[in-house]
Amino acid sequence: MATTYSATDLYDGLVKHGLIIPVGVPGIFGRNAVFEDVLARFDDYVSRVAKDDGAEKMLFPPTLDRKVFERSEFLDSFPQLAGSIFSFAGNERQHAELRTRVHGGQPWADLQVMTDVVLTPAACYPVYPSFTGTLPENGRLVDMQNWVFRHEPSPEPTRMQAFRVREFVRVGKPEVVVDWRNMWLERGLTIMRSLGLPAKSEVAADPFFGRGGKMLASAQLEQQLKFEVTIPVISEEKPTAVCSFNWHQEKFSKIFDIKTPDGETANTACLGFGMERVCMALFRHHGYDPKTWPAPVREKLWP
């Protein structure tokens, strides 16, 4: 592969080789069987690494209870990224109006009403309400793969509006949660490097909204609450985050009333592999045809 990085070249290469299928909207595309095989093989690899951890496996649809979303403070931090689901709840006369406007190219948003669900804005959110109450002595560990929506349309292929995250969530005493986060940070680096990807880890901040967001980001950095494993995919200077580690301290446990057995407010942390981003990093570094990838990489993914 070329040693220069380019978002346009990567997007064009992925499309040319049929790996992603444009649908007309930036940040939304289909994936072909080769892409999905790589994603599934990487997912299996993560499962093998985590097999002795005793995680509870769960799967949630790509939608979230709006009340959970409202309590989660996502709108306090990232109003620009949210996707709230609206639908039609009118009568026949209003339906006629809707059809006239849609086919006439007129705005029709005001004929829709807010539903009880939103698109899942972060892969860990669906699980927190199920932790409410007192945890077992060793806390809990959950393993999920969830679709996530972010309203950030971009032609840049690694910045998607909808993508999958292999997500682990740990809840328990603070030291347990932080040790677990640190262990996975090492594991994340090891996994990526074993796939021939030049990964490094760094302290990171989320794209909080507005000037207040600068304060939130500075607090997050200062307290080292977020780490990322990054790999150059479209840029050397701004490598792409392929795995993200968040320590929420007591935030979600206060919101959802999660206690340790000794009655203290629990801590939570999560980590997520951006599945499509990992696939794109592999295609970028090893070529668009997995059959030609280096043998050690293939052995990890197709053991």
């Binding site: 000037r211 207040g212 600068k214 304060m215 500075s218 607090a219 307290q223």
Partner: protein, 79 residues
Amino acid sequence: MNDEIRAILKEHGRLAVDVAGLADDADLYQAGMTSHASVNVMLALEGTFDVEFPDRMLRRGVFESIAAIRAAIDELKQG
């Protein structure tokens, strides 16, 4: 000025304790102010004192105590 800062903290700081009982140098985050609450405090301070915090001051430490907030506003008023 400290009374006005205390009034803002009472309204926007979501403190776990009564602001009247806090010393000027008490840590507001220890007193229960969340990061999101500190953003509302920052915006309320700008409105009340007619100042705008520059990017370099949009940091956790600038809002960590009544004394720190007062020092920041004094600096902006003088500038």
